[in-house]
Amino acid sequence: MNRTELEHILKQLHRDAYIWARQCCQFDDELAKDMLQQSYLKILEGKAKLKDPKKAKTWLFSIIRYTIIDEYRKAGKVVPLEESYDPIDTIEEVDSTDYEGIIKKLPEMQREVIMAVFYHQMTIAESAEILQINVGTARTHYERGKKKLKELIQKSQLIEQNGK
């Protein structure tokens, strides 16, 4: 695949890629822009190669995610594995329309699988490919994330109703 074709694919996926980068960066716009640029650079310099054009989206999302993980690692912001598995108890109140705030309350892996499946309409298998984990693990994150997210939404709605 030549550079022009690659650029064409990247342009087509640009909006989704930016949104995904933002979601992986805890909705930090500036960091998302930087990470996206770094990911494009990696691709166009040939450091990451697309073998199957049908899997362009999962391939691009995976590169973005790993570029962000690398950046966090450099900055010393690494989330321990247990933390990404166990649900975090929420104490502070979140507005039911603060979608990003609610999503942020999910553990990292659950959040990424849930965003890939519900927001980007990917399958659990595709989300597993992006996260470089096996499908069974991705399914576990999906189930736990779904349950946790429902609880968070209900909680925020309840708080809002009681407030009114």
Binding site: E7, K33, Q37, F118, L149, K150
Partner: protein, 98 residues
């Protein structure tokens, strides 16, 4: 519940300002740099081989010999030859005569 949550979230994201796709330019190779390196390499090779070559034998060899003349006087004979290999001592007869 989750589907309506995400459709609302997507609606909100419609307001997001998406950055422009970065214009990427193919890095133009500055040919001066590789040309300079290649030229320096060639000059280096040239000097190296020139220095390592054995000095060529002079085209002509001047042979100066001292001989005794008929009247017992000494005389210097200067000869010019192409190669020293072909030179025969003019005094070699002295060895055989002696």
């Amino acid at each position: 519940m989750l589907h309506s949550f995400f459709s609302e979230m997507k609606k909100q994201d419609q307001q997001l300002e998406i950055p422009e796709f970065p214009e990427t330019k193919v890095k133009a190779i500055n040919w001066w740099l590789p040309s300079g390196i290649a030229a320096s390499f060639l000059v280096g090779c040239f000097w190296f081989f020139q220095l390592s070559q054995a000095p060529e034998a002079p085209a002509e060899v001047i042979i100066i010999s001292l001989e005794q003349g008929e009247n017992n006087e000494q005389q210097i004979i200067i000869e010019e030859k192409a190669f020293i290999d072909t030179w025969e001592s003019t005094t070699s007869s002295l060895l055989t005569d002696f």
